[in-house]
């Protein structure tokens, strides 16, 4: 209990501390959506600010001073594939304010996306939907999300290789490894074994454990005021679900394919009707995974930031202290729920992946 209790209280203290700093950033301008020196204080501005945060970003900004319009943070490397590899630092964009010129190519950052321009004075062409129609070069940049992934990966490698090394000293882990070991056992005994089966689960442990801890750590990183929103990014969840999809298809045995293309035990017309449904089912399973993770994490970030924004929006009705109090209580409450959701979503993704794999490798001894 003591081991658990201390980090937990630390997290709460950190949250309280950073919530205030996030609000600080909330009241600042991000240069794009509002006029200089004007704090983010209208509904539209807050909405735009939250949407901006939910997107990936090419630089790492901790805090923006709206009055002087200075961003405190660091730029990240941009790697583009545009008739050749184009590598430069995102500081060239000046947070989207200027056009970056690299090897005779011109790029503009607009709502966290990079568009190609024909010349230094060219302007983006915006269509009715609000999206620029300019071409988008393939963007392999080390964005904030990629940095988050690398950070999560680094944490995982460090923590779990330490746990692995610990076993060389003795069969009982010590220190922090004692917290990690039950988690590994949990994934093995509660997720992999019951769903995939005693005989075959071992082969999929690498994927399941990696995905579980990867998602969980990224979800938790998303709760820190560093502002990562990796698992709330559709490209990331698509990639994760694609992994599950391919692993399921490649591990599918004869029975699995038979159940999809020629369902045993039903009349022939039913077999023909069931075939397209089953083929669709192959795709909807991983699709539900990617949408669930994306929607839950995005919604979580949205709700937490909206509740923080109440501090500003309710100031007129309840005064500074009242609105801060309401916002603090609600945010704390939702943050605790999000802490649970962070684990829950990692668990559900891994659990369902294991379930789908289990369905593909299951041996049917009936029919």
């Amino acid at each position: 209990m003591k081991v658990f209790y201390r980090p937990f209280s630390c997290i709460v203290v950190l949250l309280l501390f950073f919530m205030s700093s996030t609000t600080y950033a909330g009241s600042a301008s991000n240069g794009e959506t509002s006029k200089e020196g004007d704090p983010v204080d209208t509904k539209e501005e807050i909405d735009a600010y939250i949407r901006h945060h939910l997107q990936d970003s090419h630089d790492f900004v901790f805090y923006t001073d709206g009055k002087t319009n200075t961003h405190y943070g660091f730029p990240l490397p941009v790697i583009l594939w545009d008739g050749g590899l184009q590598v430069f630092m995102s500081s060239k964009f000046h947070h989207g304010e200027t056009v970056a010129e690299v090897n005779g190519n011109y790029y503009k950052l607009y709502h966290s996306k990079i568009y190609k321009l024909d010349g230094p004075d060219d302007e983006l062409v915006i269509d009715e939907a609000g999206h620029p129609t300019n071409p988008r070069p393939l963007d392999f940049s080390i964005t904030k999300s990629v940095l988050g992934m690398l950070l999560a990966g680094l944490l995982m490698v460090l923590a779990f290789s330490a746990l692995a090394r610990g076993y060389k000293k003795g069969p009982i882990p010590t220190g922090f490894a004692r917290v990690l070991e039950p988690l590994v056992i949990y994934v093995r005994d509660e997720i992999a074994r019951p769903n995939i089966g005693e005989k075959k689960y071992r082969k999929y442990m690498g994927f399941l454990l990696t995905v579980f801890f990867f998602i969980w750590i990224l979800n938790l990183l998303g709760m820190t005021p560093l502002g990562f929103n990796v698992t709330g990014n559709i490209a990331v969840t698509v990639a994760l679900a694609v992994f599950t999809f391919f692993i399921v298809q490649f591990s599918g045995n004869k029975e699995y394919w038979k159940h999809i293309f020629w369902m045993p035990g039903v009349p022939v017309p039913m077999k023909i009707i069931l075939m397209p449904i089953e083929i669709l089912g192959m795709l909807t399973k991983p699709f539900s995974l990617l949408i669930r993770l994306f929607a839950n994490m995005t919604a979580g970030h949205f709700v937490v930031m909206s509740l923080i924004a109440l501090m500003i929006l309710l100031k007129a009705q309840f005064g500074a202290v009242g609105s801060t109090g309401i916002s603090l209580v609600l945010t704390l409450f939702i943050t605790l729920i999000e802490l649970l959701v962070a684990f829950l979503q990692a668990f559900i993704f891994t659990m369902l992946s294991a379930l789908f794999i289990g369905m593909a490798v299951a041996e049917h001894d009936h029919h």
Partner: protein
């Protein structure tokens, strides 16, 4: 929110690469050794438990054996005692019978001897009585026949007797 517009192929690619590398690294440096160690440990624990269970069973077997041996020994002792008792009784009866027979024999012999002795004694007594009677008779006759008169009387009486007969 426009999901298709938000989808970044570059980020998708980066995520795929990072995840592939991460799975590879974690498998090699973390999951394999961790799961192997866990398995080893669990097998060790299971082995120890099994060994303990076996030892317990063996102990129980041993105890059962001991009990069985004790019971057998007790039964053997009982049967030996019983046998001894039977033997003792039979010996006693035998001895009694023998003694009885011997006693009977002795008694019979004694009776025989007594009978013989008695007969001999009676015969002797008879002889002695006869001798004594003759002596007495001799003495009486001698005294009676001291004078003539007496001799005559006697003869007369005797004759009288004879006649009467």
């Amino acid at each position: 929110m426009d999901l298709l517009h938000d989808f970044s192929p570059g980020l998708f690619f980066m995520q795929t690469i990072i995840l592939l590398i991460l799975i590879f690294l974690m498998r090699k440096f973390a999951w394999k050794p961790i799961l192997n160690s866990l398995n080893d440990r669990e097998e060790g624990i299971q082995g120890a438990l099994d060994a303990a269970e076996n030892a317990k069973k063996e102990l129980q077997n041993l105890q059962a054996d001991n009990e069985r041996i004790i019971k057998e020994a007790r039964a053997e002792r009982d049967s030996m005692l019983k046998e001894a008792r039977v033997l003792k009784e039979s010996m006693i009866t035998e001895a009694k019978d023998e003694a009885q027979q011997e006693a009977n024999k002795i008694v019979a012999q004694a009776q025989e001897t007594i009978e013989g002795e008695k007969k001999a004694a009676i015969a002797e007594l008879k002889q002695q009585v006869a001798a004594i009677s003759i002596e007495i008779a001799e003495k009486v006759v001698r005294k009676e026949l001291d004078n003539k008169e007496n001799q005559m009387d006697l003869v007369d009486s005797m004759l009288g007797d004879v006649t009467l007969n």
